[in-house]
């Protein structure tokens, strides 16, 4: 081996920087491919919603319906009383949100800042309940609400939210543990009682975690299908999710896929808009609970 050979520079793609560049380019291509695969279903839904019935069942398929049939969206919300279902859904979501925020922040504060006999044990039991399949409590809970005469009212969907939920209590407790205790100590010296400290100091400080809980409650309650399905049998009480499931098989729609997809697209709009507006709260919630879990 002579000196000239040793000093000849490597070709770019063999250098460390070149290898890095190749890897990044390759990753970008794969990531973009994956992203398009994930977006395609959305595209298919929207494009179907903008087709004429003939275009829906055309072969070869129509990828860009021209002219787009925006009237399909109007038809979707007028064929069924969508405004009524939307009102039902948002009423339930709003009530559940308030209940969850109040009950979970209260309990989380209790678990995070106090020590009392049995407190840790109750917290462990609470965490363990996250593993219990809902099916186990399903039948007795239904019978309870049935005996109370609450079936076909919104109460079975709303009331439990006022009694805490393990996942959110865990999430909020983790957040409270990161808040320095000095402020509370100062307030205590000034003679504030625990509830005042919770209301005046902790709640204002916990706006980010409250927002996280709020967005998750919104999405989960909005998307929930099983509970409204079993508790709301009356047509006038249906939520958007239940209404859609009936819409699918109703003779008024039949195989009119374009109307069905228009209705589905409308129903997906609220959570998607919320996601775009409040993305960081979703991400924060997932990351905190995931990591500490």
């Amino acid at each position: 081996m002579n000196a000239t050979q040793r000093h000849r520079p490597l070709p770019f793609w063999r250098t460390k920087r070149g290898q890095e560049r190749i890897r990044l380019t390759l990753s970008t291509v794969i990531a973009l491919l994956g992203a398009s695969l994930l977006i395609l279903p959305f595209y298919w839904m929207i494009s179907t919603a903008l087709k004429t019935p003939a275009q829906v069942f055309a072969l070869p398929p129509v990828w860009f319906p021209i002219p787009p049939q925006f009237g399909n969206f109007v038809e979707a919300v007028t064929l069924i009383p969508m405004h009524l279902y939307a009102f039902n859904t948002f009423f339930i979501v709003f009530m559940v949100m308030i209940g969850t925020l109040l009950s979970c922040s209260l309990s989380a504060y209790g678990f995070a800042r106090f020590r009392a006999p049995g407190l840790d044990f109750i917290f462990l039991v609470l965490l363990a309940t996250m593993m219990l399949p809902g099916a186990v409590t399903l039948v007795p809970t239904y019978l309870l609400f049935n005996a109370l005469g609450w079936v076909n009212t919104f109460l079975p969907l709303i009331v439990p939210a006022y009694f805490g939920s393990a996942f959110f209590i865990f999430l909020m407790r983790q957040f409270y543990l990161t808040i320095p205790i000095d402020l509370e100590d100062a307030a205590k010296i000034d003679g504030a009682n625990s509830f005042q400290i919770y209301w005046r100091i902790m709640l204002p400080l916990s706006k980010p975690v409250l927002a996280t809980v709020a967005v998750f409650t919104f999405v989960w309650t909005y998307n929930d299908f099983f509970s409204p399905l079993i508790y709301l049998t009356d047509e006038a009480h249906r939520t958007i999710a239940v209404a859609l499931s009936y819409f699918q098989g109703s003779p008024r729609v039949g195989p009119q896929m374009h109307i069905l997809m228009a209705a589905a697209a409308i129903s997906l709009a609220p959570p998607l808009v919320l996601f775009i507006a409040a993305q960081r709260y979703f991400v924060r919630g997932i990351v905190t609970t995931g990591i500490r879990g």
């Binding site: 990753s27 839904m45 398929p61 209790g110 106090f114 593993m131 219990l132 186990v136 997932i286 995931g290």
Partner: protein, 316 residues
């Protein structure tokens, strides 16, 4: 909890100090704060759990009083062909969709943990489908998997593959539901991403000095350092998979020929279509037992493959 101070050792044996007024106040406050949760645990969990256990030994159709039948419901379950079918469907779905879903979400996380341009937008796109679960999504997948006019088969046709009948073919319906479930891999991906970002970069630098290959770094640093995330995702995934309902209800209704009759779907039918509340309760307990066995298996096996920072410190 480390901050809890044990004061007992300050006093002679047998002498219990009277709690101070301040301390009693604290205990009372604590229970006031957690009272909604405690009431919720009793009314919506503990009570129904006990009731459900008792109901599983009865025949109850809501209209007439429950009749004690002993173990009949459980015996009947084991002779019920549809129950075995439902069990098979749920277990196959979990065993395939959970590990595959984890692998895919880890792959996506590794991909999006690099300095790609526009990575924030890409992450949002990957996460977005998890926001919108439920009926509308299941309806969309039903349309995507339409044998003749659905997008899946149209795209397969473009690369020269004649797609199966999917949801109307009993050999393919479950596969279709599994594929649909991968659309929601963004949640697990985000948790993996956070885990990947928590790996100290010194580990990789040290490995590079030792001349480790990319594969070796992945195998001996990345995988062990995120094994606790895998554990978390696995447990959550199993619990979620065994309770799948909406997709099956909307996409196939359990068909064709019960090929997608998930446990929760069969339970729903028994309880709310046939009003067999006792039988449904018994089924719920069997479901619970399966969830418990599978999660216990994961927990028990975890020392073999889950790596915790504290162990390293202890060993060192």
């Amino acid at each position: 909890m480390a901050e809890i101070v044990k004061e007992a050792h300050l006093y002679p044996r047998g002498v219990r100090p009277r709690l101070s007024r301040w301390r009693r106040r604290e205990i009372l406050d604590a229970y006031l704060f957690i009272s909604p949760t405690v009431i919720g645990l009793l009314v919506f969990l503990l009570g129904p759990i006990i009731a459900s256990a008792v109901l599983s030994f009865t025949d109850y159709d809501i209209l007439t009083a429950p009749a004690w039948v002993g173990l009949d419901n459980y015996i009947q379950l084991f002779q019920d062909g549809l129950f075995w079918q439902a069990l098979r469907v749920s277990v196959i779905y979990s065993v395939i969709s959970v590990p595959l879903g984890l692998a895919l979400s880890l792959g996506a996380a590794l991909l999006l943990n690099q300095k790609i341009r526009g990575v924030a937008i890409l992450r949002s796109i990957y996460y977005m489908p998890t926001i919108i679960s439920g009926v509308a999504v299941a309806m969309l997948w039903r349309w995507l998997f339409n044998a003749q006019f659905g997008m899946v088969n149209i795209l397969l046709g473009k690369i020269g593959i004649r797609g199966p009948m999917w949801l109307t073919d009993e050999r393919w319906a479950l596969t279709a539901i599994i594929i649909a479930s991968f659309w929601g891999l963004g949640g697990a991906m985000l948790i993996y991403l956070a885990g990947l970002q928590g790996i100290p970069s010194e580990l990789y630098e040290a490995a590079e000095i030792d001349g480790a290959t990319e594969q070796a770094k992945f195998r001996y640093i990345t995988l062990p350092m995120i094994s606790h995330v895998t554990f978390f995702n696995l447990v959550l995934g199993i619990i979620g998979a065994l309770q799948l309902f909406t997709d099956a209800y909307v996409m196939t209704g359990g068909g064709p020929n019960n090929a997608t009759l998930f446990l929760s779907l069969y339970l729903y039918r028994q309880a709310f279509l046939y009003l067999k509340m006792g039988y449904a309760s018994a089924m719920a307990w069997v479901l619970f037992a399966i969830v418990l066995i599978l999660t216990l298996l994961v927990f028990k096996s975890s020392p073999m493959w889950v790596y915790y920072e504290s162990e390293r410190r202890r060993a060192a």
